[in-house]
Amino acid sequence: MPEAIAYELAKKQKEISVAEFFERNKHILGFGNPTRALITSVKEGVDNSLTKDMPIVIEDNSVVKIEKIGDLIDQKMKEIKPESLKNGQLERLKISGLKTLCFNRENLTLELKEISTLFRHKVNSDIYRVTLKGNRYADLTDYHSIFGFRDGRIKPMKTSELKEGDYLVVPNGKWDTPLILEIDLLEELLKLTPQETEKIGIYGINKIFLDIREQLLAILPYNKKYRINDFRKCDRIPFNILREITVDRRIFDHCTVDFKFGKHKIKTKIPITKDLAEFLGIYIAEGSISGGHKVNLSFGSHEKDLTTYVKNLFKAVWDQKATIAKAHHTAVNVVINSTILAFILKKIFEVGNKANTKRIPKFVFNFPVNYREKFLMAYLAGDGYPSKEIFSCMEKQETLTKIQVERITLATASKDLCSDLFYLLSSIGIDCTFDVNKPETRILLGKKANFSDSYILYIYIKQGISDLHKMPLSGIVENNKDSKLQYSINYNNQTQITVLHALKLQKNEYLSLTEVGEKLAHSQIGLLKVKNIEKINYDGEWVYDISVPGEENFMSGLGPIACHNSLDACEESGILPDIYVEVKNPTEEECIVIVEDNGPGIIKQQIPHIFARLLYGSRFHAVRQSRGQQGIGISAVVLYGQLTTGKHAKIISKIEENQPAVLVELAIDTNKNRGEIQHQEITHWDKPSGTRIEVSLNADYKRGKRFVYDYLQSTSIVNPHARIVFKEADGTEHLFERTADILPKKSEEIRPHPYGIELGTLIKMSKETKARKLASFLKNDFSSMGDRTANAVCDEAKLDRNLNPADMSREQFLFLYQAFKKVKIMAPPTECLSPIGETLIRRSLKSETQEISPEFIFTASRPASVFSGNPFQVEVGIVYGGNLPKDKPVKILRFANRIPLLYQQGDCAVTTAIASIDWRRYGLDQPSGTGIPIGPAIFLTHIASTQIPYTSESKEAIADVEEIENEIKLAFREVARKVQMHINKKVRRVKTREKFDLITKILPEIAKKSAHMLNKPVPSLEKVITRIMDVVWIEDLVEYEKVRGKQVQTKLDVNNPKGQTESGGWIAKSTIMVVNYKGKPQKFSLYALFPKNATVGEVKPKPTKITDTYIKWSLESIDPTDKIDLFFELAGLNKGDFDENDLYVQNINPTYVIGADKWEGE
C-alpha cells in the first residue's frame, strides 16, 4: 500500500545538518586533499585575525541648508527606528543622502562630506558652552572634542581639556556648494502634498496638448471625459494631474503656474539671477505675507530709492507690477496681491512668516558665491546699518568690500535667522561677531512693549581687522628677524600676527613659517581664541553627534566651529595586527596548526559560535565585504580537525590586559550544528589581548609547507600593515615585517544597489526594513537612491511613495523590481572600497623581493569601476629583472580583497586578461602574442570589491566578468607602458651618457694630443661641445637621509586615529642638474612629479607652483654650456619608495632635451 510506504520513508528522512553536509563535501571548502587541507587551515586561521572591512554608501542630497542637529536627528530617528546600544543610552542610525561641511585635515580646505551615522546619547555629563573671540559658541559635553591648534599642530582636543586662550578651528573661506541654476517649480510643487497643491494649475498647455492628450483621457473617469475640452479652452490643467501622468516634465518648460482665477502667472522654471537673490534678501529683511495672498515689503518713507528699486525687482523677477502704498506717516509699503507668489514664497522658499521665525530661504546656500553676496547686500540694505551706504553700493552693483565703513551691524529677532546669516557670511568668506541684546521693556506709543531678545551681528569689511585673519605666532612663525615684530612680542605681549603681514615678512625673508603655518596661511580655515568656558544648564534629553568618515569633523555651533566625531573615535581599536603562525608535524600524517594574533580577543560566550558553527553569522542581504569564505571559515577547520584526528581544537582568548585568559577545548556536534565546550579553564597569557587557536589535523606537511610559506608571503604583500611570523616544524622562523604603520582605510557596510538585486531578496528586505514608507525604504536600504531617484522609481512603478513596504503585495514588488531597471540610477559610490594603494604595494613588493634584486618595480591603480551594481577596483604591480629566471613564464600573484588566491590560476579572469595582452611589444617573449608571457617578471593583481565573482565554491579563481577583465587589462597596459617608458629612458640615457663621456673625457684628450704634436696651445672646447651634444641635458639623483626628532607632518598619518606623527623618518633629497649644451640660450619650464602621499619640504630655487603631485619651475634663460642645479625634499616616504625623478619640460622642443619628456598637462 503506497501510503504506508510513504510514511515509512518519511520516518527515515531527517534534516541533514550543515555539518554533516560538510563531512561529505570537504573538497568544496578546500579540504579535498591533505596538502590543501593544511593551507586552508592556515588561511582560515590567519583570516580570522586581520581587520574586517565593510564598505558603506551615502548619497548626496544637493540642497544645502542649515539644520539643527537635534531637530535633524530626532526627525530622522522618528522616520526610521535607530539601533539602541549601551542599554538605551546611545541610539545610532545609519543614514544616506546627507552631507555636512567639514575641513579636509590634510589640505585644510572646506568640503561637504557625507554623513554616515547619526547618534544621540542620553545626557550623562555636564554640558559646557565654549565661547570664542567674536562670540561664536558651541555647546558640548566634556568628553566631546573639538579641533584646535596646540603644540604647533591642528588636532582634536577634549572639551574637558580646553582652557581660555586655546585656539580652535573655524572656517575661513568660501564654500563650494552644489550650484542650483534654476528652480524647477513643478518638481518643488510635487514635493508638497496634493492637498496643498489642489488649487494650482499649469497654464499654457495647449502647445503640448497632443503630448499629454492620451494620458489625460486615460485618467479622466468615463463620465467626465468632456473635461478635456475645458482644459483646452482654459489652456490649463490642474497641477495634481501631473502626479498621475508619466511624462517628461521638460515639455512644460514654457508653461506657467498659478492659482485658479489668479492674475499673476509664474514660470515653471525660475532662473537663479542676481535679481532673485536681491529680491529674496530684501524680502527677508522687510517682507511679510498676509491673508494668504498679499506680499508686502515695508520701508521708511525716507527710503524712496530703495522702494523704487524693490518695485523694479518685482518686475524683473516675477514680471509683476507692484504698487507703492503709504502705510502710515513714516512707512511705505510695496505690495503685490498674488496668491501664487505668496504660496511660493511660503511653501517653496520657506521664508518663514513672523519676524522671529524668519529663515534664509531655501536654495540660497546653493547660489553661486556672488549671488549669495547679493542676497546679503539686499538684506543689509533693508535691515543693516548703515543702510544708506549699503544701498548705494547695491545700486552700483558693487561688492560688500567696497562699502566705505569698517563694520556693518544687523539685528534680528530671529535667532535662527541670525545663525543662518552667520553661516551664510562664513560661506562667502566674511567674518562676523555675534552679540545678543537682552530684552528691555520700552515704552512705545504710551504702552509698555516687551521686546524679545535681539540678535546682532557685526560684519567686518576690511580684511586684517578681524581675528579670523590672524594666526598665532607660536608654532607658526619661526626665525623672526623683523625687529618691530620682535619688540612687539617682547614688550607688547603680541601673540598673534595677521596672515597678510606674516606672508609679507616671509616673502622678504624676515621670518619663516612652519609647515603648518604655511598651510594655514593659504588654507580655508582660521583660528580663534577661546574666550570663555562655562557650564550651562541643559534641559534637553539627548546630546547629538554625527559621523563623517574620513575627515571625522563637522562644523557646528552658533557660528561654525570644527567639532570632532568623538563617538566614532572611541569605537576604533586601531591595533596593528601581529600574527604568529606555527605548524608542527609530530607524525607523518598529523599536523598541528597554531594561529595567534594580538587583536581584541573574543568573549567566552562567543567562542563556540565563532569557531564551531558553520554558516553562522551572515545576514543574507547585507552586502558585507568579507575577506574570504563567508560564514564557514574557521569552523570548517575545527570540524576537519575533529574528523580526521578525533582531537578537539584548543582556543585561548584574552580580552583585557588586567584579566586572565580563558582556554577552551571545543568540539562540533555535527547533528545539531553547534559548538560544544568540552573543557575550559582560566590560564595566564602574557599578551595584553588576543586570540590563539590550535588545531590537530591530517595534512601533508612536506608538500604543503611550501604553499604555506607562499601564502603567508603573499598575504604580507597585500596587508602591509600586518606583521606575520611563521615557524616551521623544524623550528625555522620566517619573519614578514610590516611596511606600513597605519591601518588600511576603514570602509563600511554597503547597501545593495538596485541593479544587482533579485526579486526574492527585495521582498525579504521589505519584511526586515525599519522604514515605514516606500520612499524611505528605497532611500535608506539601497545605495545610490536619493530623493529624486526614489521618487522616480516609485513613479515608474506607479506606486505611492508613502506605501508601507510591509503592506505591499508581490505584484507591487514586481513592478518595483522592473522599475529599477527602467529608471536611471547612479552607479554606487566607490569611496567604500579599501584598495591597498600604489605606494604600499610597491613598498611591499620591494621588501619581499629584496633577494631577487629586481631591476625595477612599477605599480598602477585603476579608478574604481562597477559591475552589476557592485563597485570594484583593480591594482597591479610588476617586478622585473634581477635574479628572476628569463626563460620561464612570469609568476602571477592574484589577490581578491587582500586574500591570496593560490589555486586554479588557469581558470581565473586575471590570467585570461594577462594572456590576452600582446606582451612582445613590452619586451617579454610570448609565442604568437597570446598566453602567459615568458620572462623575468612577477605580476601582481589585487581586486577589491564588495562582491568578488568567483568561478566556484572554492573561491580560488575570479569569474570572467567583462568589466573586471577590461579593468585588469587597462591596469596592466598602464603599468606596462611605465615599464616601456622606463626602458626607453634607460636606453636613451645610455646613449646620451656615451655622448657625455665623449665630451668630458675623449674630446679633451684629442685636443691635448693634437696640440702637443703641433706644439700649439690646447684649443677651447666649449663651442665644439655644444655642437656635438646639441641637447639640453638633464640629470637627476635621489638620496635618502634619515631624520630624527623633526616634527614631520606626513599625509599617511591623518588616518591614524590616535593622531600620532612619526618623530623621525626618511627624507628623500632630489637633485636635478640642467646643462644647456645647445648653441643658443634656452628658457623653459621644468616639472618634477612626486608620489601623492609625500609632503614637499625645502625647494630650491623657489618654484612657480607646487601641487600635491608636482613641482613646477619656470627657469630663467640658461646660456650655452651653463648649468642650473635644482633641489627639493620629500617627506613621508620610506626609503626607496621614490628613487628616480619623473621630469617633464614645457615651452621647449622636447627633442632638444635628454632626461625629461614633454609635459602633456595634468
Binding site: L998, I1002, I1006, S1010, H1012, L1014, K1016, K1023, V1024
Partner: protein, 365 residues
C-alpha cells in the same frame, strides 16, 4: 741606407693639424678618407691598376666610436713620429700591445690597429713601411734561376742564387723588398709561375719544373703578402718576365689572382706598387674541370655567394672571367689544383702545364 722620412712626417703632421684646426674653428673634428669597398674602385688607365674612386667616409668625433678612433689616430701618429725619430720600427702586433698604455686610446683588438694603420696609408698615400710598421706575415718562397742581392741586418750585401744557394724550401722573400733592401742581379728564365698551394709548389720543384721549363716558381702561400706581390711586380717589370698564376678552382682563389693582377680592394691606394697588371690566369679554370674531368667538390652557399659577388666585381668584368664564372655557377662544382694528381703525380708537369702554356702562347709547340 738612410731614408728621408721628412715627407712622411709632414704628411702625418697634417693629420694632427686638420684635427687641431677643426677644434679651433669650433667645429667637430673629423678626418676623411676614401671608402674602401668594392663599390669604390675604378680602373686607372695611366697606372693600369685599380684604385679608389671618389667616395669618402668620415671619422668624426660626433659619435662615441668616431671620437675614440680620432683619439687613437692622434696617439698612433704621435707614436709613429717617435719611431721615426728613434729609428725603430714595430710590428702591427707590437703596436697593438703598446696601445695598452694609451689609456682611453687603447685598441680593443689587433684588427682595429691594423685597420687604423691602413687608414693612415689611405689618408697620407704613404705605405706602412713609411710608418715603420711591419706586418707579421712572411713572404713567399721562391725557387728559380734567379740571383738576388739582399742588404742584411749587418748592413752587408749578400748574393743568393735561388736554386743553388737555397734548400728545398727555396728563398724566403723578406718583409721589405724595396730597392734599398733587395735587388735582382741575374735571371735566366722565361716566365714566373705563382702557385697558390704549398703542395703544388713542392710537386713542381720535385718534378724539376723550374729547370725543365725555365720557370721561376713563387709560392704565394694562399692570399699573398704585400712583399710577395711587390716582389712579383718588380720582377715582372724589371726583368720583363711574364707572370702566370696557378691556383685552385674556387672563388677565393680567383681573388688571389685578383690581388696579384689587379690589386686588392683593401690596398687599392697603393695598387700601383703591388699589382702586376700583366699577370695572367693559368688555371685551374672551370673549363679545365670539364675538359680534364677533374675530381670535384660541390660549391657551398658561401662559394656561390662569392662567385655572384665576383660577377659584380669591376675587376672581373672581362669576357674570360664572366664566361668562366658563369660556367662554374652552372657546374656547381669546384676543384683543387692538386686534383690533377688523378692522372698521376707527373700529369701536371707532363701534360697539363705544357698544354696550358701552349694555349697561352708561353711555349711553342
Amino acid at each position: 741606407m738612410q731614408r728621408d722620412y721628412s715627407g712622411v712626417i709632414t704628411k702625418i703632421d697634417s693629420i694632427a693639424a686638420k684635427v687641431y684646426a677643426d677644434l679651433e674653428k669650433a667645429e667637430i673634428p673629423a678626418l676623411q678618407l676614401s671608402t674602401r669597398t668594392k663599390a669604390n674602385i675604378r680602373f686607372d688607365d695611366d697606372l693600369n691598376v685599380w684604385k679608389y674612386g671618389k667616395n669618402k667616409t668620415e671619422r668624426s668625433a660626433n659619435s662615441l666610436d668616431g671620437a675614440y678612433m680620432l683619439l687613437r689616430t692622434m696617439y698612433l701618429v704621435d707614436f709613429i713620429k717617435d719611431m721615426i725619430k728613434e729609428k725603430k720600427s714595430s710590428t702591427l702586433r707590437e703596436t697593438y700591445y703598446i696601445s695598452e698604455g694609451w689609456n682611453l686610446a687603447k685598441f680593443s683588438s689587433q684588427n682595429e690597429s691594423d685597420l687604423l694603420a691602413e687608414d693612415l696609408e689611405v689618408i697620407t698615400g704613404c705605405m706602412r713601411e713609411d710608418f715603420k710598421l711591419r706586418p707579421e706575415e712572411d713572404g713567399a718562397r721562391v725557387i728559380g734561376n734567379l740571383v738576388v742581392e739582399e742588404m742584411t741586418r749587418n748592413n752587408t750585401k749578400k748574393k743568393i742564387h735561388c736554386q743553388d744557394d737555397v734548400g728545398d724550401a727555396g728563398y724566403g722573400i723578406p718583409y721589405n723588398v724595396e730597392k734599398e733592401k733587395l735587388s735582382f742581379k741575374e735571371v735566366d728564365a722565361d716566365f714566373i709561375v705563382a702557385i697558390e698551394t704549398g703542395g703544388m709548389f713542392d710537386r713542381l720543384v720535385e718534378n724539376g719544373f723550374d729547370t725543365d721549363s725555365r720557370a721561376v716558381l713563387v709560392h704565394l702561400k694562399g692570399q699573398p703578402a704585400r712583399s710577395t706581390r711587390r716582389f712579383i711586380k718588380r720582377l715582372n717589370e724589371e726583368k720583363k718576365l711574364p707572370v702566370l698564376v696557378f691556383t685552385d678552382c674556387d672563388p677565393w682563389s680567383f681573388r688571389i689572382f685578383g690581388s696579384v693582377a689587379y690589386g686588392a680592394i683593401k690596398t687599392a691606394h697603393i695598387s700601383e706598387y703591388l699589382a702586376t697588371p700583366a699577370a695572367q690566369y693559368l688555371g685551374v679554370t672551370p673549363s679545365d674541370i670539364e675538359n680534364y674531368k677533374l675530381p670535384t667538390d660541390t660549391l657551398t652557399s658561401e662559394d656561390i655567394a662569392a662567385l655572384k659577388s665576383e660577377l659584380d666585381d669591376p675587376r672581373f668584368q672581362d669576357q674570360f672571367w664572366k664566361h668562366e664564372i658563369k660556367l662554374q655557377l652552372n657546374l656547381g662544382k669546384k676543384s683543387e689544383q692538386q686534383a690533377l694528381a688523378k692522372y698521376g703525380l707527373d700529369y701536371v708537369t707532363d701534360t697539363y702545364l705544357p698544354e696550358k702554356l701552349v694555349e697561352m702562347g708561353m711555349l711553342k709547340k
